[in-house]
């Protein structure tokens, strides 16, 4: 648990990352980037069927969090192009089997959502950017004020437009970059989620399942990742949560 005291509103951050059921931690293709000093937070979700998806998603969140700006579509697309060139250069240095080489030519893809918090003004706010189906969800109590870029649990499909490593061949992806912002009050929470946990959380909200939502937040309150992992496993076993990697950043104000 990390904490700081910006201008006048307190901030606590909690992160959690776990792979699919029966997968090793190093097989997790979701990634979390946190730059607490700059109040920049990001989650990315490497496409399961893509090449080197874990490294692509980790690269995106780490370098976006460490940077400044990148909160408009043009700058963000330039960032993706730069990162894509860099990871392609790394891949070219490797001797690959025929199947890895052919897979690498298809490239990698990742969903991304990043948020920067702004405390300087009298009205603290968040500014976010996203491509794909990783989501930011702004809550006040158990009410969802804003879910972005997807806002309904049934909106999560299998073929979202994602950040590509072959950016020059997937320019149309840039048209799907979206931005959003919102005002923060003391007591608010922001969640950054990868897709499966986003869909699950929105389903709870749609079903007014406040008990499960409260239990989820309660288990996140403690610094006990094993307890969170067990909660996730239980929800997967119930069939309510899809068996997928899970990335969570919780920001409490």
């Amino acid at each position: 648990m990390m904490s700081s005291k910006p201008t006048y509103i307190a901030l606590k951050a909690r992160r959690f990352l776990t792979p699919k059921h029966e997968h090793a931690a190093e097989e997790c293709e979701d990634a979390i980037g946190i730059n607490f000093a700059a109040h920049r937070f990001a989650v990315a979700d490497g496409a399961t069927e893509a090449f080197d998806a874990g490294n692509w998603s980790r690269r995106l969140v780490q370098n976006w969090s460490a940077a400044d700006g990148l909160l408009n579509r043009s700058d963000f697309w330039s960032f993706i192009e730069t990162e894509a060139r860099a990871i392609n250069e790394l891949w070219k240095q490797q001797q690959l089997s025929w199947y890895s080489e052919n897979k690498q030519q298809i490239g990698s893809f990742a969903a991304f959502v990043g948020v920067e918090l702004e405390f300087a003004a009298n009205n603290p706010q968040w500014n976010a950017i996203a491509l794909g189906d990783s989501c930011l969800i702004h809550c006040r109590g158990n009410a969802v004020l804003k879910a972005f870029p997807l806002s309904e649990s049934l909106s999560f499909g299998n073929s979202p437009i994602l950040a590509p490593t072959s950016a020059e061949r997937n320019f149309q992806a840039s048209n799907n970059i979206v931005t959003a912002s919102g005002q923060l009050m003391a007591g608010d929470e922001l969640f950054l989620f990868s897709d499966a946990i986003s869909a699950w959380f929105l389903m709870l909200s749609e079903q007014n399942d406040e008990e499960t939502m409260t239990n989820f937040k309660r288990v996140l309150d403690d610094d006990d990742d094993a307890a969170v992992a067990q909660f996730i496993e239980d929800e997967r076993s119930s069939g309510r949560l899809k068996n997928d990697d899970v990335a969570i950043i919780r920001l409490m104000f």
């Binding site: 029966e22 890895s100 052919n102 061949r169």
Partner: protein
């Protein structure tokens, strides 16, 4: 049904059953340059390539699929070539990846994103060579498939049901396949019955019938037999067909009659789409030879 997640701990089985009788050396109607056996071997090799690529995670191929290729003609048995895979009934996909007969080098053209094209080197593996000899012992071949499935289902009772993709150009020479076909369709896992899909291809210039929901338009008894031993397409397969622009209807069977080359490509693309995976359109990637 048909919703079990395919994982290394819970893999599925895909059986490609290929007619290799003498008539497969005939060309397709209207295309005297292409023998049916040559085209089918090419599509099977691309299908295996696609399945391997789907399971490739950087430098590892995960065993989500176990593959069987059964050929029937003068003999009935594994159609895998090469010393390491031949005679093997069921091969984990990682071994399929590691032991092709040969890997051909070529180039393919891809869009450069700026309105032009670039050529990039590609390597295409080959596992199956064309073969066309003998009669059409379809019943014996389906019995081999059934034995493989019996063994698989004993060990994997909860997984995504096995898929059998059967391609033939003619009638059975060793009896009526209806009985053994229905036996195969009665096998199941906890997630649903085994999927048996049939694609009949023809050298005749006859109109093709693709994925019918009933047998009213079928021309003869043989066509109706194949229809009745073809499974209805589950929802995810119907969605894959829609992505490929193939018309289906609720209740459509995994069945093609008098198919042409494009029918074969689509049959394998739809038949290996499994749990809603996006079909890999390898025809878009066909190489320009180096």
């Amino acid at each position: 049904m048909y919703s079990a997640q395919i994982t290394r701990a819970n893999p599925t089985c895909i059986i490609l059953l290929i007619d290799q009788s003498g008539s497969m050396s005939d060309p397709f109607s209207g295309d005297s340059a292409t023998k049916k056996a040559d085209f089918v071997a090419e599509v099977v090799n691309h299908t295996l390539h696609d399945l391997v690529i789907r399971c490739t995670k950087t430098e590892e191929v995960r065993n989500y699929y176990y593959i069987s290729i059964v050929g029937y003609g003068r003999t009935v048995g594994s159609a895998f070539g090469g010393p390491l895979l031949t005679q093997r009934n069921l091969v984990p996909i990682a071994q399929v990846a590691d032991y092709p007969l040969q890997v051909k080098s070529s180039y393919k053209r891809i869009a450069d994103g700026a309105g032009g094209w670039v050529e990039i080197p590609v390597r295409f593996p080959v596992w199956v060579h064309p073969n066309a000899d003998g009669k059409t012992p379809m019943c014996e071949a389906l019995n081999v498939v059934k034995q493989t499935l019996d063994a698989w289902l004993t060990e994997h009772p909860k997984g995504f049901p096995p898929t059998v993709l059967h391609l033939t150009d003619g009638e059975s020479s060793d009896g009526d396949p209806d009985y053994v076909g229905r036996q195969i369709m009665s096998l199941r896992t906890d997630d649903g019955p085994v999927l048996l899909f049939n694609c009949h291809i023809s050298s005749q210039r006859s109109s093709k019938i693709e994925y019918p929901a009933d047998d009213s338009r079928l021309p003869d008894g043989f066509a109706r037999t194949l229809f009745h031993i073809s499974s209805p397409l589950p929802g995810s397969f119907l969605a894959a067909a829609a992505q490929l622009g193939v018309q289906t209807a609720p209740g459509s069977r995994g069945f093609v009659f008098n198919g042409d080359p494009s029918s074969i490509v689509q049959f394998y693309e739809i038949g290996t789409s499994l749990t809603g995976m996006t079909p890999y359109r390898w025809m878009d990637d066909r190489s320009e030879s180096a």
